[in-house]
């Protein structure tokens, strides 16, 4: 809103390119300092633009790749109610991916370009989706822990300095909170169900707990982008701060579930008013990021396959649009039966 557009500031500034750049930067810095939103047509530093594209693309890719571990259970969901909830959730994730690609496109990139980079392994998605869903309870653990961690990360993004990203996050967070509650409720049904169901739930929490903590990224002293992102108000809190907040939220929820968290070092720290927790296996985290997690290969292969096998469908739609651009087929026209043969 407040940042003056590039055109406006160049007009009437008779100085050199460097002076103009300095003036733009001053305007941009003032807007960020005042908690104003940066909008697509505002001038912004190239590094800010690049950093946002990287983060938003990674976020969008995570929604799309994140469909796979859950879609894995659609055909085996144990009740029709759960099946409907799961299908709706996976559908929402595709929708979130679409919002986020659109938001990223306001920065001058395109969905096709971003998907190409994902398929080429040049842009990342969240490390969490490289873990397999081995039982039905994993669907609940993903809802409770993975969506819970995502929300803890994403709610502050609703105040992110870049307007289109912040607005996308408002919409996404509403739906994510709903998914998170459904996941928790799924797990609650299992943990209070038969002994076999309880055991299934505990096993899922054991496998998803640590990978969920890794979703907050490397520790603060090893996080490459954190300081700059916080200065630009893309990020509002550090990785470790958000991770601890998440642990504090999960501990009482685990008690209600009657499930334990697989960390003997979790205990309340009276002095700090927060929970202490055990050491994260950062070697595992690095291996997963490097492509050596349990499902990295499988996830990317399936995504590439869907894209490649769908190429002829996209080509057909484009060819049809070219042929019929003068007379688009409307829903109304298509819904009229009989006309040609009557």
């Amino acid at each position: 809103m407040a940042a003056v557009t590039a055109d406006q500031t160049t007009q009437g500034t008779a100085g050199t390119a460097e002076e103009a750049e300095a003036a733009h930067l001053a305007t941009f810095d003032a807007a960020v300092a005042a908690d104003d939103r940066i909008e697509p047509r505002d001038w912004m530093p190239e590094a800010y633009r690049a950093s946002l594209v990287r983060q938003m693309a990674q976020h969008a890719h995570s929604e799309i790749i994140g469909m796979q571990p859950e879609a894995n259970w659609i055909s085996r969901a144990p009740s029709l109610r759960r099946k409907a909830i799961l299908m709706a959730k996976v559908q929402d994730e595709a929708g979130h991916g679409l919002y986020l690609y659109s938001a990223a496109e306001t920065l001058g990139t395109s969905r096709e370009e971003l998907l190409d980079k994902l398929h080429a392994g040049r842009q990342r998605y969240s490390s969490i989706f490289n873990y397999p869903t081995l039982t039905w309870a994993d669907v609940g653990a993903i809802g409770w822990l993975v969506d819970g961690a995502a929300i803890t990360n994403q709610v502050p993004l609703c105040r992110c300095s870049y307007g289109p990203y912040a607005r996308a996050m408002v919409r996404i967070c509403k739906e994510e909170s709903f998914h998170q509650r459904q996941g928790y409720e799924l797990l609650l049904a299992l943990s209070h169900g038969t002994p076999a169901q309880h055991e299934m739930a505990q096993d899922a929490v054991n496998r998803w707990w640590w990978p969920s903590l890794m979703m907050f990224g490397p520790p603060d002293d090893a996080s490459a982008h954190s300081a700059q992102s916080m200065a630009w108000k893309i990020k509002r809190h550090s990785n470790d701060e958000l991770r601890r907040r998440f642990v504090d939220i999960c501990v009482p929820q685990a008690q209600v579930l009657g499930l334990s968290l697989p960390d003997p070092d979790i205990r309340w720290n009276e002095k700090l008013g927060q929970h202490d927790y055990g050491a994260i296996d950062w070697t595992e985290f690095q291996e997963v990021l490097k492509g050596n997690g349990p499902c990295n290969e499988q996830r990317l292969t399936q995504r590439r396959k869907a894209h490649e096998e769908g190429a002829w469908v996209r080509d057909a739609a484009a060819a049809y649009a070219d042929k019929h651009s003068a007379r688009p087929v409307t829903a109304g026209a298509a819904a009229q039966p009989v006309e040609a043969t009557a």
Binding site: I64, A71, S79, Q91, A94, E309, A316, A335, T341
Partner: protein, 233 residues
């Protein structure tokens, strides 16, 4: 309650097949659209099966021979054109049927009145894609024709009588053929000319006689539920 079971099984089984597309669609918008249609159908299935008994008992604890869906909806997805051919044949039928049921006084009138809006959207989606694929590229044209041809033999069964649904099946069949012909011809494709169903197989799905892929589909769908008898989820 044969009719509720037959119509409910149609919706349940097609919903399951469409759910198999999740994460595999050719474009993100189709991830949304196919899941959306699958969800609508699952909603219809749940209402219809609840007329008959417990929805989960009916979905998860019946064996293959007790299902009453038409064979068309149990056919594997194949490629996108194959899936769209199945969607065209079924959604035009379902739309015409539900319009008629909604206008009538029968036990399905309320349900059909609600579902007909969803089904009109499914039909439009299928028609738009048949047009795009048929009149798109040479490859999509060929694939769309193959899909239409391969599934044609399962369409005759759509017009077999179903106990409890009191409508003129032969008029329904005529209207269906006219509507499908209109779309197929506008898509520069040819309406298949073979028999609409093998004479021996007519009405087989409604009698619990299914095709081979169906048993495997049920094995996957029912496995978890059957592994925990009596559990609630």
């Amino acid at each position: 309650m044969t009719a509720a079971l037959a119509l409910g099984d149609d919706a349940l089984v097609l919903s399951h097949r469409l759910g198999e597309w999740a994460g595999h669609a050719p474009v993100l918008e189709e991830e949304v659209a196919l899941a959306n249609i699958a969800l609508d159908l699952l909603g219809q299935a749940r209402m219809l099966l609840s007329f008959v008994g417990d929805e989960d008992q009916l979905a998860y604890l019946r064996e293959e021979r007790a299902f009453r869906n038409v064979q068309l909806v149990e056919q594997p997805n194949g490629d996108f054109a194959h899936t769209m051919a199945r969607q065209l044949y079924f959604s035009v039928y379902q739309h015409l049927l539900y319009e008629e049921l909604a206008a009538g006084e029968g036990e399905f009138a309320d349900l059909a009145a609600k579902a007909v809006k969803e089904v009109a959207y499914h039909r439009d989606h299928a028609e738009q894609w048949v047009l795009r694929l048929g009149d798109g590229t040479a490859e999509s044209h060929e694939r769309m024709q193959l899909g239409l041809d391969a599934l044609w033999r399962f369409t005759g069964e759509l017009f077999e009588p179903v106990g409890g649904v009191d409508i003129d099946r032969s008029a329904l069949s005529d209207r269906w053929l006219a509507a499908v012909t209109s779309v197929v011809e506008r898509a520069t494709l040819t309406v298949p000319s073979g028999p609409q169903s093998g004479a021996w197989a007519a009405g087989a799905g409604r009698q619990g006689l299914h095709t081979e892929p169906f048993g495997r589909m049920l094995a996957e769908m029912q496995h978890l539920h059957r592994s925990h008898p009596g559990a609630s989820w």
